[in-house]
Amino acid sequence: MKAIGKAEFSNFVDELIADDPREVIGVQAKSNKFAFDPLKSAEDLRLDYDVTILPPKKYFMPQRETLVKYNTNEGEMTAVNEVIPRIIFGIHPYDLIAIQQMDKVFEETHSDENYLAKRRESVLVGVNMKNASEWSFAHTMGTATTDSGYDLMLTDIGDKYAVEIGSVKGSELLEEAKSQLDDVGMEEIEKVREFKEELPDKFRDDPEFDPFELPRLLSEYYGKDGFWEENAEDCLSCGTCNLVCPTCYCFDVKDVNDITLTEGERLRTWDGCMLEAFAQVAGDENFREEKAARYRHRYMRKGRYMYNKFGDIACVGCGRCSEQCVPDIADPVDVFNQMKEGTNGI
């Protein structure tokens, strides 16, 4: 572990913005919320944020991404993989864990270079949570802290940041700030420990379930009469809970042509299993026509499918879906608690 004074850290970031060929991204205020965006100055970096509107997945799996370009006259198709190398500042532990889950999906299913190259070319600078969104239950999900998934990890210890190095990429980045780095003593280590110890108080205290019972609970509730219907009654099928989720990665693929019909691109775009047409096929057959079926499907994904496949619970407790669902029905804590209480009662 190292430490760096806050002023020195700002200089370091400003120097990267000015000199590093890579794009420097950081969490910034967006009106009364926060978002990852390209940094113009270290001043704008907000390492005290609670949660961002969208998770940083947008940098590895962009909302719209060209996969293939074609020319219909020549019948030619070429693969496209636009990679912008980036240094991303301010990723919270739960998002780092979500990124590690996504890595598995795109690495182990097949190696999807469109994702993996973007990951390889990014440096992830994490930050331990100074503030938490009132919706976050990362502590319950075991994602309030992480020992892996970052290249560098910052902790605010007053007038300094403690810096943990997680990878070669991380230490290479630090190279440029070498002269400003301090060695840490017991005091700093103690401060980081205290910081982490205080974390649980920052999160909501209503979750009553344990994440690893979720696969079992979901199996029990899979066919539960009325359960999903009731919970989904007010669902607008707007997909917000999918789109803002750091572990959702389902996508659509479509061809977009220019008006002359000669040039075009095949795009991969974000999709959402809560959208009505998600499981619809030709001939108007829809395998999840009812919103309750889609609602259940989302929970199966979060609490069981990824667990069965990779051993991960695919909810990291960021609370984005809970906060951003307009009719306020997408809070996993609410649904998981209902299942937990129900089974307890049986």
């Binding site: 009106s31 969208l54 099928s237 707007c238 997909g239 008006i259 019909l261 974000w270 307009v326």
Partner: protein, 276 residues
Amino acid sequence: MKPESVKPKVAFFDFAGCEGDQLQVANMEEKILDLIEVVDVVNFREIMTERSEDYDIAFVEGSIATDHDAERLQGIRENASWVVALGSCAAIGGINSIRNSQPYDLVQDRVYGDDADKIEAWDVAKPIDAIVDVDGYVYGCPINQDEFVHVVESLLQGKDPNIPTYPVCVECKMNENVCVFARNPEKNAANIKAAVDNGSPAESGPFCLGPVTRAGCDSQCVNEGTTCWGCRGLVPNPNENAHQEVLEKYGLSVDEVINKFNLYFGWQQEELKNEQ
């Protein structure tokens, strides 16, 4: 499939509307030159004198509200292989349908007073598919140029255009906007509390019709700092009840909710009611 050597003939027509959709086409700048590479524009009253009754694709802008217009539209239908509604007035009745919920004699009186008898119009404004069969829709007030290009391109290639069936929230989230309902948390909380405490919210709350409005505009209005007004019409299966509850929870009165839904959904709501 490549465009045939004989270019399809395209015509534009307008009825009761602001001609903003045709302007979007004119505003394509250099792309217009690309467009005329692949189609023959034979009728575009807004920018050209020549006109021909021989066309394959008719883009129709504006709502229908007089017998005379209805007859003209039927003539267009007979001539064209494809009739495409251009913009919300033609596709869903659009802003014109605000008056559909107002008593017609009052409407006439407000606008023409004693001269009301000189004016011949229907008591409601209708989208063109209330009069003739329609083969395609370009939604929006005004239309989105990319979507227009996509619809033209699709027609030329003989495929169904991919028009979103999901709500605007999808694009709004992809654009990482601060949701209208999250912009003023203190006021919202006070409203919700007041509603719980005394049964009605304190102050007129935020509104956004994005959750029930068909996407395809790239959530443009929200991106520009305002709110989704519903100009592209309802999604195919809107959960209007749930959305109405949301709007009321945040502080809109029932009347206000109805007014917002009436901005663009007037005709569609009538249709939904008739279906049930």
